[in-house]
Amino acid sequence: MNCAECEILLHALLDGELDAGHARDVEAHVAQCSACAEKLRAFRAMHGTMAAANLKEAAPASLRSRIEAALPSPAPRPAAALKFARPSRRMFFGGFAAGAALSAAAAASLFLTVIRNDQEQTIADEVVSAHIRSLQAGHLMDVETSDQHTVKPWFDGKVDVAPPVVDLTAEGFTLLGGRLDYIDGEPVASVVYRRRKHIINLFVARRLGREHAFVAASMVQGYNVRHWSDQGLDYWAVSDLDGGELGEFVQKVSAALHPGRPS
């Protein structure tokens, strides 16, 4: 391990985020590098001071009661619109038109974190392995076409679902084709997209992992993975795209599957 690596990893060590192997590497480096040892000492002291300090801010009681007041009251009020008691001060969020507010909220809801579930993790690992396998020469596509109406029927009879195939070329995600893959011993449809040089595999199957109403995000072996469920199907998107762009992809797919819904 060199000093540049150590400089990053020593923080993970302090934060208890390092696995045993890397923790040993950092400690071994620190034992023979006085500069890094000195950094570790200083950052540990700073981290300790911050942990001991009270850096949280208590929410004012007035804010708490304002939020409480906005929740529907115990007395049944059918179809009452949920409204916050006090309108926002001086047009704070006035920039939001109703539609924009809705779509921004939908975007926010498309995040969800950290699935610590063994079954889910196993599938995530398999999905990433399938993604890596697909990147080897000649393995990416069984049917190669940018025409969604060719890809969709190709899956007929090969898998027990009709995976939705959407054309997102206009959104910057090119449809490359489809592939039959196997996850957890079951045949799974993979629809392949590309953004710039980055391949995205979108695996679609019935019951593949835990059902999620929101998008569960994780990272496996450096690949970003997004999993969500929609109308009885499970979707797994895998790519080396960064989280933001893969999130955008997921949003576009969801939006294309629900054309009526504001995305």
């Binding site: 929410a59 708490r64 906005a70 969020f93 926010a108 569960a216």
Partner: protein
Amino acid sequence: MAGYADCEHDNARRFRDAALPYLDDVFTLARYLMRNAADAEDAVQECYLRALHHFDTYRGPAMKPWLLTILRNVCNAEFARRRKQEVSTDCGAEEEAEDVPLWQEPQASPETTLLRQHDDDTVRKLIAALPQQFREVIVLREVNELSYQEIAEVAGVPVGTVMSRLARARAMLRSAWNVAEGTAP
């Protein structure tokens, strides 16, 4: 239909139980991001409004990072709106300077080994003085106590980016820490 009002009420009760315990966490992040108490309160209120709106489809295990993600989006939308205003009136570049390194990386020298002890207020001020993306990662880690994976989700970046930002942020904080209130190295 027996159910609608009951269901709505039940939903609200579950939302109250699930989301309100994190109000201080959400307000804390808002306070560090928005820099001003009244703006922070508005952002928190907006965050809870949106969370409630989407709560009936919420299935996830981790409420705190979900709320913080929404809060961060609310704050960023507000920054974007202000930036647009500023551009149109062609003044101020307060938020643009975020990516410019304003701080020197500390030199490893014996003088910086010993950390000065600061009171809570000073530590808050030091954090508040960091550029936005570094301030955010420090607060999510040291104050909101999220894991790296959770921070990555909230900030919408890979875990590797979280790690390098955190290293940068702590290095900046450390140099500011030693300069604050007294003997510069």
